[in-house]
């Protein structure tokens, strides 16, 4: 974990305080002291998450892409075939004195030693050389770093018979298991996209950093199945769309971020067009739909050692977050080739070849994977703003958990009834919040603090001419509109 500047820690604390108090998130089972790596969303966090998921669906599910739902619990053979049972491990160290167990790589990073690309034997060696001490009891007597499998095993059925399954560590496997069925049930065409937004589970040894490394988390993943011979043949209209589009890239050997058109990236960096299409789609999602500042976004190419053995091309999508001390992975685009389907064909003995383009083959896969909880945290970080007399989240309107707050100026003269009528009128089309306590100024501040773009106030004049004020979050300016024009006005 990188050292964070004091300002960053302060910002993290401030955001977390607002988040817990106002209903964005809090530790799961907090009344029992919580459990590392588990968080729950309050109503505001849930709304923000749902809005992100909705935008993701609208943006990524283009023609011949379909959302499905798999099980979180999958039987053991799935993970033998995928390689997770053998390879999905973290390096673990045990203190020989107090038996505390912790992650070797994080331990080294905490001691300011870079572990990128480091082998497990080197970790053991360096820990011994540097005479690092157990973070719990202070003993020098530490064991060797060993691999620890990160899946949670599940015993199915009544104990008698051994029937092991696992909580899925990624949504992707469920898509591969359903691929043949979906191919048959849809247009029998490639490219075919199968999308899943779902929980995934990883038994992290030492979960950290709030929402960004949890044991239970939500992924939004799109698996694009295609004919590998077509990887550099993008449809004309799609290529035309992106060929001049500037990607923000940090290639493996580069020292700085460069803006590179898809055309150049294809020619010079040899990134195939079909892969580039999903890089461009992802970048447009962040910059255009989510309004993330351009300077906070980049793709970083992973080295061969960093990426999973089945990933032939792997760029992470990273956002620069003050609270996490720099650019951090929010997701990645993984060219997984035919690794997974091939493994499943071999282990299940089911034929997973399809017939398409006049040949029989197993499709290749490009996966676009995003961590939903990480994104939620990123929005809290990126859109947090302090002004002289208020703090606010400047969420884009499409992301704000509450679209519009509705207030009676005072709790008398039938203003609350009128305000509740407006609430009922708007509630099916907008996410609304009604509030009648405290002064109007404090109510505005409370809505600023959670990023509500608009506040509607019912006042004395409302009772005479059926008009209300709409107050905008960013400018704090008010306009007066007829109640019957409210929906129309808010849609603008």
């Amino acid at each position: 974990m990188m050292k964070k500047e004091t300002g960053a820690i302060e910002k993290l604390d401030k955001i977390t305080t607002i988040a817990m108090k106002r209903g964005f998130f809090w530790p799961t089972a907090e009344i029992y002291g919580g459990k590392a790596g588990f968080y729950s969303y309050g109503h505001l966090g849930k709304a923000l998450k749902q809005k992100f998921e909705h935008l993701w669906r609208l943006h990524f599910l283009e023609e011949n892409c379909y959302e499905i739902e798999g099980s979180c619990i999958l039987p053991e053979p799935v993970f033998i075939a995928s390689g997770h049972l053998e390879n999905f491990n973290d390096p673990l160290i045990e203190c020989k004195t107090c038996h505390f167990r912790f992650r070797a790589d994080q331990f080294l990073e905490d001691n300011n030693i870079k572990t990128e690309n480091m082998s497990i034997d080197d970790m053991t060696k360096i820990i011994a050389e540097k005479q690092l001490k157990c973070p719990k009891c202070g003993s020098w007597h530490l064991g060797e770093a060993k691999w620890f499998n990160m899946m949670f095993p599940i015993a199915l059925g009544a104990a008698g018979v051994k029937d092991t399954a696992y909580l899925t560590p990624e949504t992707a496997q469920a898509s591969y298991l359903s691929f043949k069925r979906e191919f048959e049930a849809t247009r029998k065409q490639l490219p075919l996209g199968i999308a899943i937004i779902s929980k995934a589970f990883r038994n992290e040894i030492s979960p950290r950093q709030l929402l960004t490394r949890q044991r239970e988390f939500t992924q939004a993943e799109l698996q694009m199945f295609f004919d590998k011979d077509e990887i550099n043949n993008l449809e004309d209209r799609k290529w035309k769309d992106i060929s001049k589009y500037n990607l923000i890239l940090l290639p493996q050997k580069a020292k700085a971020i460069t803006e590179t058109t898809c055309e150049e990236a294809n020619k010079k960096l040899k990134i195939p067009k079909f892969y580039l299409y999903y890089m461009a789609l992802t970048q447009k999602f962040y910059l255009d739909k989510l309004q993330v500042p351009k300077k906070s976004f980049r793709f970083r190419e992973l080295s061969e050692k960093e990426r999973a053995f089945y990933n032939k091309i792997h760029w992470d999508m990273e956002l620069e977050l003050d609270t996490l001390g720099g650019f951090r992975e929010m997701g990645g685009i993984h060219y997984r080739t035919d690794h997974d389907l091939l493994g499943h064909e071999k282990h299940s003995k089911e034929n997973l070849h399809i017939f398409f383009n006049n040949k029989s083959f197993i499709p290749h896969v490009i996966e676009v994977s995003l961590g939903v909880d990480r994104d939620v945290w990123a929005f809290l970080d990126l859109f947090y703003k302090e002004e002289k007399e208020r703090t606010l989240f400047t969420f884009p309107k499409t992301l704000a958990p509450v679209d519009v707050a509705i207030f009676p100026l005072v709790s008398k003269e039938k203003m609350p009834d009128k305000a509740l009528d407006i609430y009922s009128m708007l509630k099916d089309d907008f996410s609304c919040f009604y509030d009648e306590t405290d002064s109007i100024g404090r109510r505005y501040r409370r809505q600023d603090e959670i990023g509500t773009p608009y506040c509607i106030t019912v006042d004395g004049q409302t009772m005479k001419d059926n008009t209300v004020t709409i107050r905008a979050r960013d400018s704090m300016k008010q306009v007066r509109v007829k109640i019957e024009k409210l929906k129309e006005e808010l849609r603008k």
Copy 2:
């Protein structure tokens, strides 16, 4: 399990065949032979499920009700407090000869012996008396019925330290754990509703009946927290809304279903008004929003032995389904009193009292719980229809997985391009499906078979005057409309 008529089994087979072929659902990890109690949704099933969830949110989340999201994995103390660790059990029998384990109550029902209200000792006794044989090996040598806990345990962290958690068997606990936070973060008012739509997990000994009794399933649950002194004081406008509304009831001692107004149910059956409000809201959801036939709906009152020990009032919401041989539980309304919050206060030692109505107390809870997968199955059953020349699902328009299919009459003369333009124009507002293979007649039949309300066809005339035909599923009639009027026309 009730004996099913041959017609019912045929219907079940037909629906299942369509469901698997077209993309509603299939067994999870089917290529590995599947696992009892686990199903995955294909794109049509997922869309149907999402639409149900959307309607549920719109209908049940009234003012001061909020959706949150909890963790699926919860630490052990939660289930000590809730009583699940001690009481959430199924009766298990082991064959002493072949060691096969199975559910005692289901085993008796399969042998035509009613087990409602039967104690575990009586199960053992009757199995011995009737000399029932092991369903697997045929041996008479069966063990005693014993309780088997239905939660899946999870070991957190690296093996060394024992840190047990469980997959949650109901969404409700996550709402109770977050209650105090949500109360503080919202309006500090009762009644307060906390809603969760989430996966829940139960280690069923013998899962059955497709989607209706799974080991991993989705619940939509609303917990209404209220002041118990107010249980019979409903707001005037709400009572006016429901007092003359006829509930369809099968009370404990009644022999037949009766229609009873809420007023009568309050006076004669002594059901409190606040509970009646959620019965009425639930019935309206099924009859009005989901268009379930009235004759297929009822509330059944559970006997004291049938209901959980903490439920003071418990009516199940049941639907009559051909494929399941009669009325079956889809959900229930549970007056859980202060059982859960009181348990959590006691075990966590956190003060869960609130101050409201000028007193300090722990709120009571009425839970409205629905099984989402059961509902999805119910729609497939209830809306399945066979006609002379086609089979179809007559889903209400708000539930149909695909809103509109778009076809070029033939795959030439630029009709596909035109049809794809229409697809792009409509895709953000409607769920669309594009298809250009086979004759137009077969394409219509395929859409009927999955319940698509409308098909749009681009034909020769389209290329001349920019009009297309819209064909309605139920009447099979076509009208011709201008492309620019399509959205408007479909919204009607």
